[in-house]
């Protein structure tokens, strides 16, 4: 298994290198290259010389790429334009947290023998990653924005929280609705409700996310307020301007009022996929021999479904969720720019409009790393949950 994971990590690194080469080469073709773009912006005049030297902007393209790569993977050792943080002992916190999580994972895999260990591991890593990111004081030298918006590392990490909030809310909604929907459809196969669910899933699956987002904005915010006078949801931003003056309950309501529509528009499409997948997986289990045995023993239907079928039918969906991260990121790019959500996606769109080289490169790589890591996690989880899977 260790050999398998090592190989996957190597492939992942190669994929990321290829991604960086492709995007770097593409960006070089824009507007005469980074140096010409930099010269266009009057605010950047004082920095041109220093940036040219630090990033080798007057060098041949391949040298520029190597310089970029070296800087991208170097932690900030001393304060510079791209670095506002420096190395210290406190930087160790996220690594300690991740190391503890890794050790705990190995212990769980070895010691815990229940069906729920995959969920345990997933939850563990969600918490670990959250704590690690919160305490992430170590920075990498990703350069400064060519539009004069400051160090790229700080720009991205000040927006990661917003994107995570949106992504997790969407995932939560999709699972909360999609899984019970799929299970219910499978239990009542070919019923009217099943047919309706299938058709609805087909329609949402064929609808672009921006159509869903705009429809939700208009129907649930604009027209709802116009027709009934109830202002239930907001359509831009993450908080109201007077968020600071609210008490805890008002804050919670405010967050939900802002979060619901963008999260729902991402969730609706994922949820169509989840419910289809869950339905198929549940049907397969319902038609299996051991379930017929359970039925023959005379067990009550409720017990058969909940205790025997559900547990096994939930296994495959975990991998689907891990792989769905790529979709949620893509969805976030579009949804964030529609709902004015201050996350990475909107930053990406803004940066690409002005071809802000360091910002575009860094965000593409962050997304790429996220997808590669989640793909590996999905494969490992699958093996952990289903003992029949063998890694070769």
């Amino acid at each position: 298994m260790l050999a398998y994971i090592t190989r996957r990590v190597v492939y992942g690194v190669v994929t990321l290198l290829a991604l960086s080469v492709i995007v770097f080469a593409l960006l070089q073709m824009s507007g005469g290259g980074p140096l010409d773009r930099l010269k266009l912006n009057p605010r950047m005049q004082p920095y041109i010389q220093q940036l040219t030297k630090q990033w080798g902007l007057d060098q041949p393209v391949w040298k520029q790429y190597l310089t970029w790569l070296r800087n991208y993977v170097s932690p900030c050792v001393e304060r510079s334009q791209g670095c506002t943080e420096t190395i210290g002992l406190h930087n160790a916190i996220p690594f300690v947290v991740l190391a503890v999580a890794a050790v705990a994972t190995v212990l769980i895999v070895m010691k815990v023998r229940t069906y729920w260990r995959a969920g345990l591991i997933l939850g563990l890593w969600v918490v670990a990653l959250f704590v690690a990111i919160q305490n992430m004081t170590i920075a990498f030298d990703w350069g400064i924005s060519f539009q004069g918006a400051g160090p790229v590392w700080d720009m991205i990490f000040s927006r990661v929280g917003a994107t995570f909030r949106l992504g997790f809310a969407a995932l939560f909604l999709a699972l909360l609705i999609g899984i019970p929907l799929g299970i219910y459809q499978a239990i009542r196969q070919y019923s009217f409700f099943d047919q309706l669910g299938t058709t609805a899933a087909f329609v949402t699956f064929s609808t672009p996310i921006f159509v869903i987002a705009i429809a939700l904005q208009l129907l649930l915010a604009l027209y709802l307020e116009k027709w009934t006078g109830v202002k239930l949801f907001y359509v831009t931003g993450m908080n109201s301007p007077d968020y600071g003056d609210m008490n805890l309950l008002q804050r919670l309501a405010d967050i939900l009022q802002h979060l619901t529509l963008p999260a729902l528009s991402i969730a609706l499409i994922s949820l169509a996929g989840y419910s289809r997948f869950q339905r198929a997986s549940m049907l397969e289990v319902l038609h299996s021999d051991y379930l017929r045995t359970a039925k023959a023993k005379g067990l009550p239907r409720r017990k058969i479904v909940v205790k025997h079928a559900l547990r096994n039918a939930l296994i495959p969906i975990v991998t689907l969720v891990s792989l769905d991260i790529a979709f949620i990121v893509s969805g976030a790019i579009i949804t964030e720019s529609i709902f004015g959500w201050p996350g990475i996606g909107r930053l990406y769109i803004n940066a690409i409009q002005t071809v802000d080289y360091p910002v575009v490169m860094s965000i593409v790589m962050v997304i790429g790393i996220g997808i590669v890591v989640m793909n590996i996690v999905a494969d490992i989880l699958y093996g952990v949950m289903d003992p029949r899977v063998r890694y070769e």
Partner: protein, 324 residues
């Protein structure tokens, strides 16, 4: 096996039986396929909608439509801006006084060109790479599959956005590739053949070991003949179904790119850009600028997906006519 039997009889009809009216009508694979597809009512409706759309889009220049970029004015010379649907302007006009009906129809051109071109490209690339990898094990297989993994690992939308943004600025490209739908189509085609290549490879791996291929090889058939006459026809069904679904997703991604402003460039109308503009207009009450391009987009993609679903059922030889 029974179908084989029919075909043999069909080639050598027994004249005596035919005279007595007892000869059996030959049933070809195509007959079985089309019978199964016709049973799939939704797929037939979807195919009808798509056929109508294609005809409408192709015939657009000869139809009595306003130019999609023309800013309309009435007899008194006042511009017809944000006119609600009415006689003569069946779907209304947008904030620049352009006819929404004409823009929806011409917008379909961009979407269909992107979908079909990307689909063809994916079918060719995916089949070529998948069959090479599946037929030649060892080093070619390994190399091609690592390359496929790499393409599949690229985040589609972020990369497509970069290319869409940069495309008009690449100096050595011809003009039609920079602005029009073909550039976007090629981009999406080159980014989305990975899953088809994997599927085709898997088909080849299993078909290669089948007895009928072994028989062909024993009879001295060349590699080319085995691939084109024996393996590829049997791998057609996943190729067709996957390609159909790729067409749908290419249309969605093109629309998303145009919505964000990185797709086909204005003034060429596209559904994605129209939805973006319509969203701003609908807030002010001019719903028609949003609703009609939105419906066109959803209905088109939905039809393609239904057709793909129908084709999947119809092409699956394990599914007999009686069963459904």
């Amino acid at each position: 096996m029974s179908e084989m039997g029919y075909q043999v009889e069909a080639e050598e009809p027994d004249l005596a039986l035919e005279a007595e009216g007892l000869a059996v009508e030959p049933i070809t694979q195509w007959d079985l396929f089309s019978a199964r597809l016709r049973r799939h009512r939704l797929a037939m409706v979807a195919a009808g909608i798509l056929a109508g759309l294609v005809m409408l889009v192709v015939a657009a220049p000869w139809l009595p439509l306003h130019d999609p970029t023309e800013r309309l004015v009435d007899e008194a010379g006042r511009s017809l801006v944000n006119i609600a649907p009415r006689q003569g302007l069946w779907l209304g006009t947008d904030d620049l006084g352009r006819d929404v009906l004409s823009r929806v129809i011409y917008g379909g051109r961009a979407s269909l060109i992107v979908g079909v071109t990307a689909g063809i490209l994916v079918a060719l690339l995916g089949t070529l790479i998948g069959s090479l990898a599946g037929y030649y094990p060892g080093l070619p297989d390994q190399a091609l599959m690592r390359f496929t993994d790499l393409v599949l690992g690229l985040p589609l939308l972020p990369v497509a956005i970069v290319v869409g943004r940069i495309l008009p600025e690449i100096p050595f490209l011809p003009e039609w590739l920079k602005q029009g739908p073909f550039g976007i189509a090629l981009l999406l085609g080159f980014l989305s053949w990975g899953s088809l290549a994997r599927i085709v490879r898997a088909e080849f791996l299993s078909l290669r070991e089948k007895e009928f291929v072994e028989a062909a090889r024993a009879a001295g058939a060349s590699d080319r003949r085995i691939v084109f006459r024996h393996i590829l026809p049997n791998a057609m069904s996943p190729i067709i179904v996957t390609t159909t679904l790729v067409v749908g997703s290419a249309i969605i991604i093109e629309a998303a790119l145009s919505f964000l402003g990185f797709g086909v460039r204005p003034p060429t109308p596209t559904w994605g850009a129209m939805v973006a503009q319509g969203g701003r207009l609908a807030v002010r009450g001019f719903w028609w600028s949003l609703v009609f391009p939105g419906i066109a987009l959803v209905v088109t993609v939905l039809s393609i997906n239904f057709l793909g679903d129908g084709l999947r059922d119809a092409l699956d030889p394990t599914q007999t006519i009686e069963r459904k």
